[in-house]
């Protein structure tokens, strides 16, 4: 395997007494689409937040392009090429759609402390923002306040904000959460198109199995805070251990389960 783009080494996160992620190591290969799945409470969102920098691990390290970024502040992660989306739609609601995306473009540049120049004289960021909006299919809504977009539109805007930062890796936290079922395929097609055009690496936490199976190169399965299995979609679909977890096999203690408090 080539040098991983993003890597978690022996990550552990405890909230008070509860260990949400327990000694999990994970490597994301460049250019891959890597999904993290698992039943409720398996610790996948916590793992995701450890990778994205929202949480500091209790122990263990996170590496990006061979650099230890465990303690790098969130805002600097954006500058080195990491972009993350949120499970709950997380926009600037009163700003326009264009402004939402333009800010993300601006964040990468050095114009933010130009106090007395009008924003609309910086044409390059606006063009870039419009380009990204075109890509996700929101160009016509550019002038609307973000808050009036329908839910599906908001998820697309969320994606556009991410792409505007030119990330090398996209960390997507349940991008289809709360979407009406008929809108899901469209969003996934957008994500897939974006990825093929831009060559970004994608890390995805998702519960919609159709999405996961269709888009992923690799899948990591979490269970009770630990890594249960990893492999291609076909391998995972055929893995009896995974089947059991999803269907709820009752293990006896000898099967390697540890009681959790």
């Amino acid at each position: 395997m080539t040098e991983p783009l993003l890597e978690g080494r022996q990550l552990r996160k405890a909230f008070g007494g509860l260990v949400a992620v327990d000694e999990v190591s994970l490597q994301i290969a460049p250019g891959s689409a890597h999904s993290i799945i698992g039943p409720n409470g398996a610790g996948k969102t916590t793992l995701f937040n450890l990778l994205s920098g929202r949480y500091r691990p209790t122990s263990g390290t996170v590496w990006f392009k061979g650099r230890n970024i465990t303690k790098l502040p969130v805002y600097q992660r954006a500058h080195i090429g990491m972009g993350r989306s949120f499970q709950i739609t997380n926009l600037f609601p009163q700003l326009t759609v264009l402004e939402n995306v333009r800010l993300a473009v601006q964040a990468k540049g050095n114009d933010s402390f130009r106090l007395l120049r009008r924003v609309d004289t910086f044409t390059a960021p606006i063009e870039k923002a419009l380009e990204v909006l075109e890509l996700v299919g929101l160009r016509e809504s550019a002038a609307l306040p973000a808050s009036v977009l329908p839910h599906g539109g908001k998820r697309k805007l969320e994606l556009a904000i991410l792409l505007a930062g030119d990330p090398e890796i996209l960390l997507l936290d349940e991008p289809t959460a709360g979407m009406a079922s008929e809108q899901v395929p469209e969003l996934m097609a957008t994500i897939d198109r974006v990825r093929r055009d831009g060559g970004q690496t994608i890390v995805l936490v998702e519960h919609n199995m159709n999405v996961v199976m269709s888009i992923s190169d690799r899948i990591t399965v979490m269970h009770l805070g630990r890594l249960l299995a990893e492999g291609t979609p076909t391998e995972i679909a055929g893995n009896t251990l995974v089947q059991d977890v999803y269907l709820g096999q009752l293990y006896d203690l000898s099967a390697g389960e540890t009681p959790q408090s």
Binding site: G41, P150, A180, S181, L250, P259
Partner: protein, 237 residues
């Protein structure tokens, strides 16, 4: 199937959380003295179904009847007073309160706890030993027992139990399952459970929820043999 009117009848409800369209037409019935389990993948809308019954996220369309009475527009405290006990996901016990206080707060009439004490300690003998401890000091399994015990303090006709087995060790799950089975002498149960094995052993009826809709329902005994249905809605592939 039971011929008498169901204790709880959820008909075609739609529920929004903010702009999230979570439930897009879900129907569920719970029979008198029975256990109905909601099955489905993460994020399918099972928890929201319970919260819709409880009035925490009231549905915008459709109807919910409890013992023949409509629940629409009632705040959750009134719904609880009608005789519904709620055991939410992640237990939601009060960590700063002692076990005793956690039970006391659930009293609806003076002396509820005294009346139900025997039943509760019979089902969950551990709690007697932990009576004076703060809830936050309990283990996950003990907290789950406390949360269920709390729903048993007043006389409830229906219990809504959300993922009782989540994150618990198998031995504890066994203990909880025995308790739930015995609960049905006192109340009907609407259960959310991802663990299919647990669900199939406990429930009489099932409803599969997928993408906010109830897509299949029937006797759990029939589902166990229906591999196609299981694979389609509950499996990995």
């Amino acid at each position: 199937m039971n011929d008498s009117a169901p204790v709880l009848a959820i008909e075609n409800i739609h529920t929004f959380i903010g702009q999230f369209h979570i439930l897009e037409g879900a129907s569920v019935a719970v029979q008198q003295g029975g256990i109905t389990v909601l099955l489905g993948r993460n994020g399918a809308g099972k928890t929201t179904t319970l919260k819709s019954v409880m009035g925490i996220t009231p549905p915008s369309q459709g109807s919910i009847h409890f013992r023949g009475e409509p629940l629409a527009g009632k705040p959750s405290n009134v719904i609880a007073q009608m005789g519904i006990g709620y055991v939410p996901e992640h237990r939601a016990i009060f960590r700063e309160l002692t076990v005793k206080e956690n039970l006391q707060i659930a009293e609806r009439k003076r002396g509820d706890l005294a009346r139900r004490g025997d039943l509760i300690f019979d089902l969950f003998p551990d709690l007697k030993r932990l009576y004076g401890l703060p809830g936050g000091n309990l283990s996950g399994g003990q907290q789950q027992m406390l949360a269920m015990a709390r729903a048993l303090v007043p006389e409830n006709h229906l219990l809504l139990i959300d993922e009782p087995s989540e994150g618990l060790a198998p031995v504890i799950i066994e203990q909880l399952m025995r308790a739930i089975t015995r609960l049905t002498d006192h109340a009907s149960v609407l259960l959310v459970e991802q663990n299919f094995r647990v669900a199939s052993r406990l429930a009489n009826d099932y409803v599969i929820v997928d993408e906010g809709q109830s897509v299949a329902s029937g006797l759990i005994a029939n589902l166990v043999n229906d591999d196609a249905l299981i694979q389609r809605y509950l499996g990995v592939a």
